[in-house]
Amino acid sequence: MDALLLQILNGLDKGSAYALIALGLTLIFGTLGVVNFAHGALFMIGAFCSVTLNKILNLSTVTLDATQKDFLGNPLKVKTPYVESWFGEAAGQSIIDWSVPLAIIFAIPVMLAIGVIMERGLIKHFYKRPHADQILVTFGLAIVLQEVVKAFFGANPIQTPAPDALDGVMDLGGAIGLQLSYPVWRITYFFFAMAVIGGVFAFLRFTTFGMVVRAGMADRETVGLLGINIDKKFTIMFGIAAAVAGLAGVMYTPINPPNYHWGMDFLVLSFVVVVVGGMGSLPGAVLAGFLLGILESFASTTWATTTIPGINQIIIYLVAIIILLVRPRGLMGRAGVMEE
């Protein structure tokens, strides 16, 4: 029982990441009808927003302290981050400590801007081109973004720690009498993902803007004929999708140190998630994200890997292939959307 629950919990954090990326992909596909192979790169850029903020906050002045010696006998170099000298030591340190959550605030405008620029500058010209061209140009863009990040940050993973308060392990099972210890940050990530997903759904469901966007997803032409500038709204949706992917990346950094090929790694999987959930279905993308995440975590148990070696590496693809062949429109896809 504990083991079962633990595997489900283990799947949640990866599942949250899949769900968030797939949500953005589906938003873009549903609104603009574009297959965006660069979406994984947006996730990666989000992660590096967090790295960048961490580096900026750690910019420091170096002073020589003659009273202390380092191991060579020279005066010790004391680094004082600027934030500490500006806000006082305690406040400065806690700002640095909370750099990952703070990066959310930093990443939202950055990702929105990147998304809007990408849509206006590149994707816009590909609406009327075949899907193959869209795939190819965004694939090229993904390579470029990945290489640019590599040029700036190097090829090695960069550690970005979670705040001390959220770092560590907590016992979840105490209340129901089970032994379940689980990293706090992963739980935080799960709730964060739920909040973002809830936010996106609420935005689409309860605002006028969201209503127009949903109408546009259903029938773009008619909405355009009603005198609404649907292109502008869709551009903003592209920005929002980019921001969702970016936020997923920002918060994922303490779980796994980011490196430049994250984008490609997550992209293939999140495409599979989108297809399993049903192209164009937002709830489907979220559901499939969590399902596949949990499935992957079950396949990584020792029992599974000793029965079928390497099953954890291929389970997602296997499920995707079966689902596509048995139920071509995916778990929650509507009939007629991109079926042929």
């Binding site: 193959a132 140009v137 490609m264 293939v268 390497g310 296997l318 292939i321 062949l325």
Partner: protein, 395 residues
């Protein structure tokens, strides 16, 4: 000639002449000169030109004719390589059984994958092939390399060891060969300041490529090829006429899979080592790029694209900061440094960035590829001339 029309005969002869004379054509600069690093006339690179040429020709039969964009063709290349190395391990270093088996295995594998994937079209097809390729990669990388059943040797890569069976082992032939002629033997010819290298492996691959190019011309000009083009133009309409297109697309898929397997077998024949990274989806992306860059749906395009990409991959990744400094040393220092600083991002280790940019530029501005670009330029020149001619009588 050979049942080809005049234009195709011309193209075919052009390819033959270029491949046969490649050791001269690719080696225009004297060995000792500063430009020698732009030479491509050494065996390793020339082999890759023709082998990836075969790969791209095959991919073009699927993508160029039917419009089905497969993102998983590297899987067939990898399977072909593994099959070839297994033949080396079991029989002998002779490449004929290795090539035959790699084509057969890749054909069966692509029949299976094609049968499943071709039930869908459009982007679903792309994603399905991508998923299959990633799965094959994972299988080759970890699943089939466990100690109980080691088929691929995982991260190390499959290679021939001294204690392998090798039923028809021939003593002192310890590298791949064709009935005793070793693939890695090279004849060097020195003419003045130039060194030309004639490599057996290259010429074997080149002969195979020429044959495969001929097959592809025949497919392009056959009723079967016409049917594939019809699928690309309007599959729905074809279905409405009561025609089942799937056998045709499946045949195209299998043919291109076999081309990929052959290329994989040849790669293993040049260097008897097969690794899983050959199957990764970036490798699939590369063959897509080759085909698009040259011109999808044209005969010559994929070969040109393959040569272009492999050449730049090789040359650009060799140019490091020292080379750049040596180039610009005649300029004023500030200009030299700033030029080197700019180019630094695009050469050496950064050549992937150039590749990505190239990819985008080609897709955005020249979706027809290099050949289409050449045609447009030719047409523009001819158009101007035609206008001139048209104007003169009016005056």
């Amino acid at each position: 000639m050979l049942n080809l029309n005049q234009r195709d005969t011309g193209t075919f002869l052009f390819v033959i002449i270029i491949t046969v004379l490649a050791p001269f054509v690719m080696n225009p600069f004297p060995t000792e000169s500063a430009m020698a690093q732009f030479n491509a006339g050494y065996p390793d690179l020339m082999q890759r030109f023709v082998i990836f040429g075969i790969f791209a020709i095959g991919f073009n039969i699927l993508f160029g004719l039917t419009g089905y964009l497969s993102f998983g063709h590297a899987a067939f290349l990898g399977v072909g390589s593994y099959a070839a190395v297994w033949m080396f391990k079991l029989l002998s270093y002779n490449i004929i059984p290795a090539l035959v088996l790699s084509v057969i295995i890749a054909g069966i594998f692509s029949l299976f994958i094609g049968f499943l994937c071709l039930r869908r079209s459009g982007i679903y097809f792309s994603i399905l092939t991508l998923a299959f390729a990633q799965m094959s990669f994972a299988i080759a990388y970890s699943v089939l390399s466990n100690p109980k059943f080691n088929l691929t040797n995982g991260e190390t890569g499959l290679q021939v060891y001294a204690d392998d069976i090798q039923l028809f082992k021939v003593e002192n032939l310890t590298t791949p060969h064709l009935f005793g002629v070793k693939m890695n033997s090279t004849y060097e010819l020195t003419l003045g300041a130039w060194d030309f290298q004639f490599n057996v492996g290259y010429y074997v691959s080149a002969v195979v490529m020429i044959l495969m190019f001929y097959v592809s011309i025949r497919i392009f000009r056959s009723p079967f090829g016409l049917m594939l083009r019809a699928v690309k133009t309007n599959q729905t309409r074809l279905n409405y006429t009561g025609l089942n297109t799937r056998p045709y697309t499946l045949a195209a898929f299998v043919i291109s899979g076999m081309y990929a397997g052959l290329a994989g077998g040849l790669l293993a024949s040049m260097d008897p080592l097969a690794g899983a990274e050959r199957m990764q989806w970036t490798a699939s992306g590369e063959v897509v790029l080759m085909t698009i860059l040259g011109g999808a749906g044209t005969l010559l395009g994929p070969v040109l694209g393959a040569g272009f990409i492999k050449y730049f991959e090789n040359i650009l990744s060799k140019i490091n900061d020292n080379v750049l400094h040596a180039w610009f040393q005649y300029l004023p220092e500030w200009l030299e440094n700033s030029l080197v600083w700019v180019l630094h991002w695009f050469t050496g280790k950064g050549w992937h960035l150039t590749l990505g940019l190239l990819f985008m530029i080609i897709v955005i501005f020249l979706p027809g590829g290099l050949l289409d670009g050449a045609n447009r330029i030719r047409e523009a020149i001819r158009g101007r001339k035609a206008k001139k001619n048209a104007k003169t009588p009016a005056e």
